[in-house]
Subunit: 462 residues, 2 copies
């Protein structure tokens, strides 16, 4: 220490006064972590924007001492939504596992960028290990993968690498050198497919919505009919997007028959498993993605069903040498080829980003603590709770009939109460209904009972 | 507690055993935070990939007890690069400020997504406050802005919203409904401009490199000459990208004369201040971006010059009503218009993402602790150290002549030594040279002396 190979490194040692961080840590544990997991705490202490502005001192122009800053941190915790709370069912993420939280903290402490082995030696290897493992569950034996800032961007990767695979000219010449491309996807797919098509210069009108059945699953015959129609119109469908776990109904599109169609017509098959990909790690649920090994690519967000903190989203493809040629710009300041180590470990040029946050460590920590079987049990618990809830709703009077304006009203009451959070929305012909999301790995049957009773209580007079 | 409006929330309280997190916290402080700031610690304990694989147990299939996991965490810290170390000059980021670190930890503890006020009340207001402040420094009085996962994606936003502004049809119809677009940018610009053009379906060949002068600054007359040439060829230049702080030489392109040209020809002016935008907050350096208020958009990464942890990158535009119409998909499950609060606070549809990590808190914490003047002083220190180093190099014998293979060799030695990290690369006709990055807010003149002496020592026999 203080010497490298006998040479003094020199320099002064900073004074270490960690009182601020120590106090913040205590607060995060007591007010943040512990309370978020305690069912007797409110999920949210809701304030309207105008009120909240008065309650939190956000102005930064003057310096602020540590005590005052810690007080504001307490307010920040108080008025933030407790997404780790077992009664938070509002979004496709949730839970607050101590190992993933620790991994997330450590990531920040080591603050680095994932682009080169040089600045990210451990995380380069770790990303490779975890992605290889995830590709194994998907049956992508010799593929390639990368963490992206969210499933939307992972889906954009799919549209982009598939386009490049069929039309490599697009990289240099743009869309104008190409035929009139289009994409087929279920009418129930996530909106990120449309956003991606617009960003990529394909255009939202060239995302062709295909009919789903009453359970929200894409109908294979409709896919084929649309391919034929589009081809006859001189358009060039090049990708079918299949959703494994739709955003609103949680439906799993049938992969196998659509893989047959893609094979027949030479189309890329992308599976958007942003939400439902987690089902792959349980032997009980992986049948939901039957045929996944036949897909060309997969989006899978461990920050959704698997309970890792935001952001953790993987894009994977079974085509090994595609990400780098599609995205590379060969920047000579970052990806020098005359480095003294094996530069095949530098992953940066596979990405559309430059600096890339380390997303893998928090997931790795969760997985390492549980092992495969532990993670499998967690996923089984989620599906079990969902089944239990469905049965309970069926068994409870008054829960079938949903009236247009009831959900928003109940939502307001539950938010103001802070007792739980569940999202609502319409879906096609269906009027507003509650969308229960089972994502927190620690929820139980009692939590499901609570949901039903609480909606009943809040809506009794409506 | 335990009651909401007199109704028991019910449910069991989890046992709280925070021993794992407590021990991890101690380790992060001692092995991570304190050592990273201690000049007597090595910057890196370098191992080649093959060795490192043997040294860290990355396999996750079996469950692992806390003690073992903590030991591995220690290894993770040991073999990771200390980017917060004052001798880390390798990348356009660095430093490890206790407030931003605390803010980053708190972000993870509150794990939420930035898309709606509903799940992100505090951070919605905070993002608005900080972005409004940053837009103020840029002179964008009535604009709009958003945090993106990195400057590359922020630059992609610029290319996309400008395209939409001139050709709103692109969103629905794609590039094929448009004239033959192209973009002008300095030959020294960051490679993310090319990557973005390729992703957007514009094509890399339609990114027109424009000559820079010997200091790496874009030559305005060359911009105009190229516009005329391209127009005469029937192509449609629509955006000029100007770099405020180039990646390799740190050059600031002259904004004012290029704003005149953009105005004359009706082109969008984007300023890529990913690296150099921080200069705006000091009265001594903001002249480097003279004319910035005339730009249409700006990329500015507080995770670079301002020392916030990755990722913190803002895209801002002076056009108020552009981000949302350009990127919206109006998902009815997330952005319901019948919510009970003021939905104009929901920012999600301005983004190309769906889930969006909270990037603002760590920056807010830094700023709140320092105030404007404190932050200004930090920036002044960086520029002062850079000037001091330049003088020192000029005054030191043997530092002019750079031979082709010297930099990679010295780089290997410094990495193996772990005494410091500086990147190298060629630039046009210039052979490999060291690119010194002054980004850590706490570095001093002594650190600059160390750099010169250390390169001299490591390269003496070459
Ligand atoms: C099916 C599906 N795909 C993609 C996404 C987008 O993922 P992200 O929010 O990480 O961008 C979502 C988000 O809810 C989703 O449900
Ligand atoms: C001038 C410039 N623009 C953009 C970027 C990209 O920023 P990011 O790494 O956050 O994607 C960089 C990165 O070094 C840069 O130097």
């Amino acid at each position: 220490n203080g010497h490298c190979n006998g040479v003094k490194i020199n320099g002064n040692v900073p004074e270490n006064d960690n009182q601020f961080l120590d106090e913040l840590y205590d607060m995060m544990i007591k007010e943040g972590f512990e309370k978020s997991r305690d069912r007797n705490t409110k999920v949210v202490e809701f304030k309207h924007p105008k009120e909240l502005k008065q309650l939190i001192d956000l102005e930064v122009n003057k310096p602020t001492d540590d005590d005052r800053l810690l007080n504001i941190c307490k307010d920040i915790i108080k008025y933030s939504v407790r997404t780790g709370h077992p009664r938070f069912f509002n979004q496709l993420f949730g839970g607050l596992d101590q190992y993933s939280l620790g991994g997330a903290w450590l990531t920040e402490t080591l603050n680095t960028s994932q682009y080169t082995y040089e600045v990210s030696p451990v995380f380069t290897l770790m990303e490779k290990a975890i992605l290889t493992k995830m590709m194994g569950y998907a049956g992508f034996k010799d593929g390639d993968a990368i963490f992206c800032p969210g499933g939307s961007i992972a889906n954009m990767y799919a549209l982009n690498v598939a386009r490049y695979k069929f039309f490599p000219d697009v990289k240099r010449l743009g869309m104008q050198a190409l035929p009139k491309l289009c994409i087929l996807t279920s009418e129930k797919c996530h909106y990120s497919i449309k956003k991606a098509a617009s960003v990529l210069g394909i255009g939202m009108d060239n995302v062709i919505p295909v009919k789903a059945d009453e359970f929200g699953k894409l109908i294979p015959a409709e896919v084929e009919a649309n391919i034929l129609r589009l081809q006859s119109e001189g358009r060039r469908p090049y990708l079918v997007n299949v959703t494994a776990g739709t955003t609103v109904l949680g439906a799993y599109d049938p992969i196998e028959p659509i893989a047959d169609i893609c094979q027949k017509y030479g189309l890329w098959l992308h599976v958007d498993g942003a939400w439902g990909g987690g089902a792959l790690i349980s032997r009980k649920t992986r049948h939901l993605l039957k045929g996944i090994e036949r897909a060309d690519s997969l989006t899978w967000n461990p920050h959704k069903m698997m309970g890792a903190p935001l952001q953790a989203a993987a894009f994977m493809t079974k085509h090994k040498d595609l990400l780098a040629p599609c995205h590379s710009a060969n920047a000579s300041y970052l990806f020098q080829q005359d480095k003294f180590y094996d530069v095949s470990y530098d992953t940066g040029d596979k990405s559309i980003q430059c600096g890339r946050k380390v997303d893998v460590l928090k997931l790795w920590m969760m997985w390492k603590s549980r092992g495969d079987l532990g993670f499998e049990k967690d996923i089984d618990n989620l599906f079990d709770c969902a089944r239990y809830l469905a049965q309970k709703v069926r068994d409870t009077d008054g829960f079938r009939l949903v009236l247009e304006n009831v959900a928003p009203k109940i939502k307001e009451r539950m938010t103001m109460n802070g007792s739980m959070l569940v999202g609502y929305q319409p879906d096609g012909d269906r009027v507003n209904f509650f969308r229960m999301i089972i994502s927190n790995l620690e929820i139980t049957h009692e939590d499901m009972d609570f949901v039903v009773n609480e909606i009943d209580r809040l809506g009794r007079d409506l």
